[in-house]
Protein backbone atom coordinates (compact mmCIF):
# COMPACT_ATOMS: atom_id res chain seq x y z
CA UNK A 1 0.00 0.00 0.00
CA UNK A 2 1.40 3.32 -1.06
CA UNK A 3 0.76 6.23 1.28
CA UNK A 4 0.40 9.47 -0.60
CA UNK A 5 -1.27 12.74 0.34
CA UNK A 6 -4.70 11.58 -0.86
CA UNK A 7 -4.56 8.27 1.01
CA UNK A 8 -3.39 9.98 4.18
CA UNK A 9 -6.12 12.60 3.86
CA UNK A 10 -8.72 9.83 3.62
CA UNK A 11 -7.23 8.08 6.64
CA UNK A 12 -7.17 11.34 8.55
CA UNK A 13 -10.84 11.92 7.77
CA UNK A 14 -11.87 8.39 8.73
CA UNK A 15 -9.66 7.90 11.79
CA UNK A 16 -9.33 11.48 13.05
CA UNK A 17 -12.10 11.31 15.70
CA UNK A 18 -10.84 7.97 17.08
CA UNK A 19 -7.27 9.22 17.20
CA UNK A 20 -8.46 12.42 18.86
CA UNK A 21 -10.25 10.40 21.55
CA UNK A 22 -7.20 8.15 21.92
CA UNK A 23 -4.94 11.17 22.45
CA UNK A 24 -7.45 12.86 24.75
CA UNK A 25 -7.45 9.80 27.05
CA UNK A 26 -3.71 10.23 27.42
CA UNK A 27 -3.41 14.01 27.66
CA UNK A 28 -6.66 14.60 29.59
CA UNK A 29 -6.98 17.71 27.42
CA UNK A 30 -8.95 17.73 24.15
CA UNK A 31 -7.21 20.77 22.71
CA UNK A 32 -3.77 19.38 23.42
CA UNK A 33 -4.92 16.11 21.90
CA UNK A 34 -5.90 17.97 18.71
CA UNK A 35 -2.33 19.27 18.47
CA UNK A 36 -1.04 15.73 18.99
CA UNK A 37 -3.24 14.30 16.22
CA UNK A 38 -2.30 17.08 13.78
CA UNK A 39 1.38 16.58 14.52
CA UNK A 40 0.99 12.82 14.13
CA UNK A 41 -0.54 13.21 10.66
CA UNK A 42 2.07 15.73 9.57
CA UNK A 43 4.78 13.35 10.82
CA UNK A 44 3.13 10.42 9.00
CA UNK A 45 3.18 12.46 5.79
CA UNK A 46 6.88 13.22 6.21
CA UNK A 47 7.67 9.55 6.89
CA UNK A 48 5.24 8.08 4.33
CA UNK A 49 8.04 6.58 2.23
CA UNK A 50 9.11 4.49 5.23
CA UNK A 51 5.73 2.79 5.59
CA UNK A 52 6.14 -0.88 4.67
CA UNK A 53 2.63 -2.15 5.36
CA UNK A 54 0.33 -3.63 2.74
CA UNK A 55 -3.14 -3.05 4.16
CA UNK A 56 -5.28 -0.22 5.46
CA UNK A 57 -5.28 -1.82 8.92
CA UNK A 58 -1.51 -1.71 8.98
CA UNK A 59 -1.60 1.93 7.93
CA UNK A 60 -4.00 2.71 10.78
CA UNK A 61 -1.76 0.82 13.23
CA UNK A 62 1.21 2.78 11.94
CA UNK A 63 -0.71 6.05 12.57
CA UNK A 64 -1.42 4.99 16.16
CA UNK A 65 2.26 4.17 16.66
CA UNK A 66 3.23 7.64 15.43
CA UNK A 67 0.59 9.20 17.69
CA UNK A 68 2.09 7.32 20.66
CA UNK A 69 5.53 8.63 19.73
CA UNK A 70 4.21 12.21 19.57
CA UNK A 71 2.55 11.67 22.98
CA UNK A 72 5.82 10.35 24.43
CA UNK A 73 7.64 13.44 23.18
CA UNK A 74 4.91 15.60 24.64
CA UNK A 75 5.22 13.99 28.08
CA UNK A 76 9.00 14.26 27.99
CA UNK A 77 8.99 17.90 26.91
CA UNK A 78 5.86 18.85 28.85
CA UNK A 79 4.30 20.33 25.74
CA UNK A 80 3.25 19.29 22.26
CA UNK A 81 5.80 19.72 19.53
CA UNK A 82 4.39 21.11 16.32
CA UNK A 83 7.49 20.87 14.19
CA UNK A 84 6.04 18.68 11.44
CA UNK A 85 2.88 20.81 11.38
CA UNK A 86 4.96 23.97 11.15
CA UNK A 87 6.93 22.50 8.27
CA UNK A 88 3.61 21.91 6.51
CA UNK A 89 2.55 25.45 7.40
CA UNK A 90 -0.52 24.35 9.37
CA UNK A 91 -1.66 25.96 12.61
CA UNK A 92 -4.13 23.84 14.63
CA UNK A 93 -7.38 25.77 15.04
CA UNK A 94 -8.69 26.64 18.50
CA UNK A 95 -11.31 24.32 19.95
CA UNK A 96 -14.57 25.67 21.32
CA UNK A 97 -15.90 24.69 24.72
CA UNK A 98 -18.76 22.62 23.27
CA UNK A 99 -16.45 20.69 21.02
CA UNK A 100 -14.04 20.11 23.88
CA UNK A 101 -16.86 18.60 25.93
CA UNK A 102 -17.96 16.37 23.06
CA UNK A 103 -14.42 15.13 22.54
CA UNK A 104 -14.05 14.43 26.25
CA UNK A 105 -17.33 12.49 26.18
CA UNK A 106 -16.14 10.50 23.20
CA UNK A 107 -12.88 9.78 25.02
CA UNK A 108 -14.68 8.71 28.22
CA UNK A 109 -12.62 11.25 30.11
CA UNK A 110 -15.06 11.63 33.02
CA UNK A 111 -14.60 7.97 33.98
CA UNK A 112 -10.86 8.24 33.62
CA UNK A 113 -10.69 11.37 35.76
CA UNK A 114 -12.73 9.66 38.46
CA UNK A 115 -10.40 6.66 38.29
CA UNK A 116 -7.34 8.89 38.60
CA UNK A 117 -8.84 10.66 41.64
CA UNK A 118 -9.66 7.31 43.21
CA UNK A 119 -6.20 5.87 42.62
CA UNK A 120 -4.55 9.06 43.80
CA UNK A 121 -6.51 8.85 47.04
CA UNK A 122 -5.36 5.26 47.45
CA UNK A 123 -1.67 6.17 47.21
CA UNK A 124 0.40 6.42 50.40
CA UNK A 125 0.26 10.01 51.67
CA UNK A 126 3.97 10.68 50.99
CA UNK A 127 3.66 9.58 47.36
CA UNK A 128 0.33 11.39 46.88
CA UNK A 129 1.79 14.70 48.12
CA UNK A 130 4.87 14.29 45.95
CA UNK A 131 2.78 13.53 42.84
CA UNK A 132 0.46 16.49 43.50
CA UNK A 133 3.31 18.94 43.97
CA UNK A 134 5.11 17.66 40.90
CA UNK A 135 2.20 17.19 38.46
CA UNK A 136 -0.43 19.68 39.62
CA UNK A 137 1.79 22.45 41.03
CA UNK A 138 4.58 21.70 38.50
CA UNK A 139 7.34 22.21 41.07
CA UNK A 140 10.91 21.27 40.22
CA UNK A 141 12.34 18.31 42.16
CA UNK A 142 14.56 20.67 44.17
CA UNK A 143 11.61 22.85 45.19
CA UNK A 144 9.47 19.82 45.86
CA UNK A 145 12.21 18.33 48.05
CA UNK A 146 12.58 21.60 49.96
CA UNK A 147 8.80 21.80 50.49
CA UNK A 148 8.60 18.26 51.85
CA UNK A 149 11.93 18.41 53.73
CA UNK A 150 13.44 15.47 51.83
CA UNK A 151 16.34 15.07 49.41
CA UNK A 152 15.76 15.57 45.67
CA UNK A 153 16.57 11.90 45.05
CA UNK A 154 13.89 10.84 47.53
CA UNK A 155 11.45 13.27 45.89
CA UNK A 156 12.14 11.72 42.48
CA UNK A 157 11.64 8.23 43.87
CA UNK A 158 8.28 9.13 45.50
CA UNK A 159 6.95 10.82 42.35
CA UNK A 160 8.14 7.95 40.21
CA UNK A 161 6.51 5.29 42.40
CA UNK A 162 3.27 7.25 42.63
CA UNK A 163 3.02 7.79 38.87
CA UNK A 164 3.84 4.15 38.20
CA UNK A 165 1.00 3.08 40.49
CA UNK A 166 -1.41 5.49 38.76
CA UNK A 167 -0.32 4.31 35.31
CA UNK A 168 -0.83 0.69 36.27
CA UNK A 169 -4.37 1.49 37.38
CA UNK A 170 -5.33 3.76 34.48
CA UNK A 171 -3.77 2.01 31.47
CA UNK A 172 -6.15 -0.99 31.46
CA UNK A 173 -9.07 1.44 31.53
CA UNK A 174 -7.67 3.43 28.63
CA UNK A 175 -7.11 0.29 26.61
CA UNK A 176 -10.59 -0.99 27.36
CA UNK A 177 -12.10 2.25 26.06
CA UNK A 178 -9.75 2.22 23.03
CA UNK A 179 -11.02 -1.24 22.13
CA UNK A 180 -14.69 -0.21 22.12
Amino acid sequence: MRLDADTLAQLFEAEGPKLLAFATRRTFDAEQALDVVGEAFATAFERRSKFRGATREEAVGWLYAITRTVLDHQFRRRGVERRALQRLGVEPPPMGEDERRRVEDLAGLADLRAAVARELANLPAAQRDAVRLRVVDELSYDDLAARLGITPDTARARVSRGLRALTAAITPMQEAIDAR
Binding site: G16, L20, F41, V90
Partner: protein
Protein backbone atom coordinates in the same frame (compact mmCIF):
# COMPACT_ATOMS: atom_id res chain seq x y z
CA UNK B 1 -16.62 7.03 13.03
CA UNK B 2 -17.29 9.51 10.26
CA UNK B 3 -20.78 10.28 11.57
CA UNK B 4 -19.19 12.12 14.50
CA UNK B 5 -17.22 14.40 12.24
CA UNK B 6 -19.86 17.10 12.13
CA UNK B 7 -19.58 17.48 15.88
CA UNK B 8 -15.91 18.43 15.69
CA UNK B 9 -15.44 21.61 13.64
CA UNK B 10 -11.85 22.17 14.84
CA UNK B 11 -10.90 18.64 13.86
CA UNK B 12 -12.66 19.10 10.51
CA UNK B 13 -10.73 22.25 9.85
CA UNK B 14 -7.44 20.70 10.91
CA UNK B 15 -8.17 17.72 8.65
CA UNK B 16 -8.86 19.98 5.68
CA UNK B 17 -5.81 22.18 6.34
CA UNK B 18 -3.44 19.23 6.72
CA UNK B 19 -4.85 17.49 3.62
CA UNK B 20 -4.44 20.63 1.55
CA UNK B 21 -0.90 21.21 2.85
CA UNK B 22 0.06 17.57 2.18
CA UNK B 23 -1.19 17.77 -1.41
CA UNK B 24 0.63 21.06 -1.97
CA UNK B 25 3.85 19.64 -0.50
CA UNK B 26 3.56 16.53 -2.65
CA UNK B 27 3.03 18.63 -5.78
CA UNK B 28 6.04 20.78 -4.85
CA UNK B 29 8.15 17.63 -4.40
CA UNK B 30 7.15 16.40 -7.85
CA UNK B 31 7.63 19.75 -9.60
CA UNK B 32 11.47 19.83 -9.78
CA UNK B 33 11.50 16.42 -11.48
CA UNK B 34 8.96 17.59 -14.06
CA UNK B 35 10.98 20.71 -14.73
CA UNK B 36 14.12 18.60 -15.17
CA UNK B 37 12.38 16.51 -17.80
CA UNK B 38 11.18 19.59 -19.59
CA UNK B 39 14.69 21.04 -19.62
CA UNK B 40 16.32 17.90 -20.93
CA UNK B 41 15.94 17.38 -24.69
CA UNK B 42 14.20 14.14 -25.55
CA UNK B 43 16.33 11.25 -26.72
CA UNK B 44 15.01 11.47 -30.28
CA UNK B 45 16.06 15.11 -30.56
CA UNK B 46 19.54 14.25 -29.26
CA UNK B 47 19.93 11.40 -31.73
CA UNK B 48 18.74 13.58 -34.59
CA UNK B 49 21.17 16.31 -33.61
CA UNK B 50 23.99 13.78 -33.87
CA UNK B 51 22.66 11.91 -36.89
CA UNK B 52 21.97 14.82 -39.23
CA UNK B 53 25.53 16.26 -39.34
CA UNK B 54 26.94 12.75 -39.61
CA UNK B 55 24.60 11.89 -42.45
CA UNK B 56 25.46 15.12 -44.24
CA UNK B 57 29.17 14.42 -43.86
CA UNK B 58 28.69 10.88 -45.13
CA UNK B 59 26.51 12.09 -47.96
CA UNK B 60 29.16 14.52 -49.07
CA UNK B 61 31.85 11.85 -49.30
CA UNK B 62 29.82 9.08 -50.93
CA UNK B 63 29.45 10.22 -54.48
CA UNK B 64 27.13 13.13 -55.06
CA UNK B 65 24.33 11.83 -52.98
CA UNK B 66 23.46 8.91 -55.25
CA UNK B 67 24.16 6.14 -52.81
CA UNK B 68 21.31 3.76 -52.07
CA UNK B 69 22.03 3.37 -48.42
CA UNK B 70 24.84 2.65 -46.04
CA UNK B 71 24.16 -0.17 -43.64
CA UNK B 72 27.43 -1.79 -42.79
CA UNK B 73 30.73 -1.48 -44.47
CA UNK B 74 34.13 -2.65 -43.64
CA UNK B 75 37.56 -1.32 -44.38
CA UNK B 76 40.70 -3.35 -44.49
CA UNK B 77 41.71 -2.02 -41.15
CA UNK B 78 38.88 -4.07 -39.71
CA UNK B 79 36.68 -1.15 -38.78
CA UNK B 80 33.04 -2.12 -38.82
CA UNK B 81 30.72 0.82 -39.09
CA UNK B 82 27.02 0.36 -38.45
CA UNK B 83 24.25 2.87 -38.43
CA UNK B 84 24.77 3.65 -34.77
CA UNK B 85 28.52 3.51 -35.05
CA UNK B 86 28.39 6.04 -37.87
CA UNK B 87 26.97 8.49 -35.37
CA UNK B 88 29.79 7.91 -32.96
CA UNK B 89 32.79 7.41 -35.16
CA UNK B 90 31.38 9.79 -37.77
CA UNK B 91 33.97 11.86 -39.50
CA UNK B 92 36.91 9.58 -38.71
CA UNK B 93 35.36 6.59 -40.46
CA UNK B 94 34.08 8.65 -43.35
CA UNK B 95 37.55 10.03 -43.82
CA UNK B 96 39.02 6.59 -44.19
CA UNK B 97 36.45 5.07 -46.55
CA UNK B 98 34.42 6.21 -49.50
CA UNK B 99 31.38 4.67 -51.12
CA UNK B 100 30.75 4.90 -54.86
CA UNK B 101 27.37 3.97 -56.28
CA UNK B 102 27.41 1.50 -59.18
CA UNK B 103 24.60 -0.31 -60.87
CA UNK B 104 22.92 -2.49 -58.30
CA UNK B 105 25.63 -2.27 -55.72
CA UNK B 106 27.67 0.08 -53.62
CA UNK B 107 31.40 -0.20 -53.67
CA UNK B 108 33.27 1.01 -50.65
CA UNK B 109 36.80 1.93 -51.32
CA UNK B 110 39.48 2.51 -48.81
CA UNK B 111 41.19 5.84 -48.91
CA UNK B 112 44.63 4.30 -48.73
CA UNK B 113 45.92 3.46 -52.20
CA UNK B 114 46.97 -0.12 -52.78
CA UNK B 115 44.49 -1.61 -50.30
CA UNK B 116 41.54 -3.68 -51.49
CA UNK B 117 38.03 -2.20 -51.31
CA UNK B 118 34.77 -3.96 -50.55
CA UNK B 119 31.46 -3.96 -52.26
CA UNK B 120 28.03 -5.30 -51.42
CA UNK B 121 24.80 -5.56 -53.26
CA UNK B 122 22.71 -2.51 -52.59
CA UNK B 123 19.47 -3.19 -50.74
CA UNK B 124 20.54 -6.59 -49.46
CA UNK B 125 21.79 -6.55 -45.91
CA UNK B 126 22.56 -10.26 -46.00
CA UNK B 127 24.79 -10.10 -49.04
CA UNK B 128 28.38 -10.97 -48.29
CA UNK B 129 30.91 -8.25 -49.06
CA UNK B 130 32.84 -8.83 -52.30
CA UNK B 131 36.46 -7.91 -52.17
CA UNK B 132 37.58 -5.65 -54.96
CA UNK B 133 41.04 -4.20 -55.35
CA UNK B 134 41.34 -0.50 -54.79
CA UNK B 135 41.89 1.49 -57.92
Amino acid sequence: MPADRHDFPALDRLTADVAQAMRAAEAADAAPRARWWRRTPPLAVTLLALAVPSAVALHATTGKGQERGVHVFRCDGGTTVGAAAVLLTGVASVGRCSATPQRGRIVYRCALPGTPGLSRTAGSRAAAPVRRPCA
